[in-house]
């Protein structure tokens, strides 16, 4: 019985991220993305051993929604599983399957079309229904409370505006994000207050989109790609459901997830070349950066001027295709590691990829990559 095999990301593909893909169904976005991925990877569907996908029944308006999308996903007569969590968790599932030697090539898909449903209800319906949901506690309230806590740790509303402006500027340069005009720091700072102290742009913008990633075992990966990107560590953790019981001003679950991934990878986060993270609010992004060990508590804002390239994609604030956001971060990190010049990076070697889920980012997943 040998050690678990190494697993690599060998190719990624995605749709443009738009506030609404009103001319396409889920299946249209999914099949276009998967076809493109196979073309990029130069393989046929027959080469794919399994499919693991992420999506949400409540967002899709269908029960067992994977069931109706199997053909579009290329899963017909293959092993398939639905992880009802961000696609980065699906990728970690796929990686264990390849590491175990049970498969060579896995197709990971995450998609969503929040434009077809009510995102606030998607979150509100996650809240425990007896005490918290009836009083109007939801993702917005949790994010606002979290931001207030973060300010007490040393953050500021001005930082939130700067972080948000930076994220939109980055996203405006990301060809995959559809942005007409990035809001200025001024517009952000004077925007509508949606969850005090958070203003409109300081909450992640829901968008429609789909992303697909191919994972492969070591030998196959080397054959398929001249630049396999290795998964060196994985970790995830979930905090209490009851928001007020979580530790104020910190994301302990993110810390735990990061610890697990770094231990496996032997990675000091401060040495990482790239971090692609999914904060569901401006305060959330800063808290994630701190929980990932990229800065000291309360100093997340300094991370952007530090040695690690943070969210060159723009991250989740300008484009949050709920359920696919974290897997997109993986695709972004993969692009940055394999085409560093495009992103103005010298010779990046490692990346930290982060996904979050739930009300007030209750759960976190961290994957580390290396070339």
């Amino acid at each position: 019985m040998g050690a678990p095999r190494s697993v690599a990301v060998v190719a990624t593909a995605q749709t443009e991220l738009r506030s609404a893909w009103s001319n396409a169904q889920h299946v249209d976005l999914i099949s276009s993305t998967v076809m493109r991925l196979l073309r990029i990877a130069g393989i046929g569907l027959a080469d794919v051993d399994f499919v693991i996908d992420s999506g949400s029944d409540v967002l899709d308006g269908r029960s067992i929604s994977n069931c109706g999308f199997l053909g579009a996903m290329g899963a017909h007569h293959k092993e398939e599983s639905r992880v009802e969590e961000d696609g980065l968790w699906a990728a970690t599932y796929g990686a264990t399957k390849i590491a175990a030697g049970a498969a060579e090539i896995g197709l990971i898909i995450a998609y969503s079309k929040p434009s077809e449903s009510d995102v606030s209800l998607f979150y509100a319906s996650q809240v425990e229904p007896f005490y918290q949901r009836p009083v109007g506690f939801d993702h917005l309230a949790a994010s606002g409370l979290q931001a207030q806590q973060y300010i007490r740790m040393g953050g500021s509303e001005a930082d939130f505006a700067k972080v948000t402006a930076r994220a939109w500027e980055q996203a405006a340069q990301n060809p995959f994000v559809d942005i007409e005009a990035a809001p200025s720091e001024q517009e952000i700072a004077s925007g509508e207050m949606v969850a005090a102290p958070l203003r409109r742009h300081m909450m992640a913008r829901s968008v429609d989109g789909c992303v697909a990633v191919l994972l492969a075992g070591a030998e196959v990966a080397r054959g398929m790609s001249s630049q396999p990107v290795w998964i060196t560590g994985m970790g995830s953790a979930m905090d209490n459901h009851a928001f007020p019981v979580r530790k104020p001003g910190r994301l302990e679950a993110c810390e735990a997830a990061a610890r697990a991934a770094y231990n496996r990878a032997g990675l000091d986060p401060r040495s990482a070349s790239i971090a692609e993270v999914s904060g569901s609010s401006a305060a959330g992004e800063l808290m994630v950066l701190e929980a990932l060990g990229l800065s000291k508590p309360g100093q997340g804002f300094d991370t952007y001027s530090g040695p690690t390239a943070i969210n060159l994609s723009g991250g989740a604030l300008p484009a949050d295709p709920i359920m696919a956001t974290g897997l997109l971060r993986l695709a972004d990190a993969h692009r940055q590691l394999t085409q560093p010049k495009v992103f103005g990076l010298a010779s990046p070697e490692t990346a930290i990829v982060h996904a979050a889920g739930g009300v007030g980012m209750q759960t976190h997943c961290v994957v580390t990559l290396g070339v």
Binding site: A72, L140, A141
Partner: protein
């Protein structure tokens, strides 16, 4: 850059769909007693026997240790704000009820956002009409100098509520996309059923799609199929349930239209329903009966009806 899938765009307003789901939720012992006691205007908390930690409102499991042996307590109606925010739902705060070891969330009433501060004292505001809900306490209001209350043993606890009614309304606007859009346009405009050619097996795929499920290559050209077909599977529905569109008894049928390699789901009517299982079976030939409506939906076909023996031979 990947734009829309590779066919002409369709501009159809989305399909609106509402899922209106009724529930009866069981709160469990701790929340059940809390909700039952709400009508007595008593706040119920729970103390974990092993950790000694108190949660208000009452929980079945200790938030810190997961301990499951809990004794119920009566909590005071006063507490302290530990955090607050304002959303469209109003001012939502985290609160520490006096004597509790964990915060809870609730609304703050009768105060402007700017007046609030962490550490401010608050007291519960009871609803005028008693309800067995957390909203029996409508919220909390500022109560400067309110004395610090204490947790006491809960005397004569009410029986837990076994269930509470709940309702979830979910609204959707589903995009048609280029393939479904074209097909439903044809149905609505020309009363014509069209699919795309499968690239795995000779015939039409309905509904149409960009890729063939089996070959995973792009599907072929559009292909019209007649509104006649063969029942491949059927059931006589007697069951009644909430949300049902047809009134039982009716026939649920999976029909393979002539020239199609997929099945369409519809009902078969126009027969003596007392003999339904004899008259409609796998192999029965059927044809569409179109309704007067032209909405561009599958319901533009009112139903299918069996083709009498001989009719088809005559038309061939």
């Amino acid at each position: 850059m990947l734009l829309a899938p590779d066919t002409h765009p369709i501009d159809r307003p989305p399909l609106k769909s509402t899922l209106s789901m009724p529930y009866t939720l069981t709160p469990g012992r701790a929340a059940g007693v809390f909700l039952a006691e709400a009508k007595n205007r008593r706040l119920v908390g729970a103390r974990c026997v092993s950790s000694g930690l108190v949660s208000v409102p009452a929980q079945d499991f200790c938030p810190a240790t997961g301990g499951s042996e809990m004794e119920l307590v009566e909590a005071p109606e006063t507490g302290t704000i530990t955090g607050f925010t304002q959303t469209a739902a109003g001012i939502i705060a985290t609160l520490r009820i006096d004597g509790a070891d964990f915060d809870c969330v609730h609304r703050i009433l009768e105060a402007s956002f700017d007046e609030l501060e962490i550490g401010a004292r608050v007291e519960a505001v009871w609803a005028e009409e008693t309800t067995q809900s957390i909203l029996a306490v409508v919220g909390f209001r500022l109560a400067p100098g309110a004395p610090v209350g204490e947790v006491r043993p809960l005397q004569h606890a009410a029986e837990p509520l076994p269930m509470v009614p709940y309702h979830l309304d979910l609204h959707y606007e589903h995009a048609f996309g280029p393939f479904y859009g074209r097909m439903f346009d044809e149905i609505g405009t020309n009363r014509r059923l069209i699919g795309v050619r499968s690239t795995a097996i000779d015939g039409a795929l309905l509904p149409p799609r960009e890729v063939d499920d089996i070959s995973y290559t792009k599907t072929g050209t559009w292909m019209t199929v007649p509104d006649t077909g063969t029942v491949r599977a059927m059931s006589v529905i007697h069951l009644e349930f909430k949300g049902q569109k047809e009134k039982p008894p009716y026939i649920y049928a999976e029909i393979q239209l002539d020239g199609a390699v997929t099945r369409l789901i519809h009902s078969v009517k126009g027969i003596d329903m007392s003999r339904a299982s004899e008259l409609v079976k796998p192999g029965t030939r059927v044809r569409a009966v179109w309704s007067d409506a032209r909405t561009g939906a599958l319901s533009d076909i009112s139903h299918f009806e069996p083709v009498p023996d001989g009719d088809e031979a005559a038309s061939l």
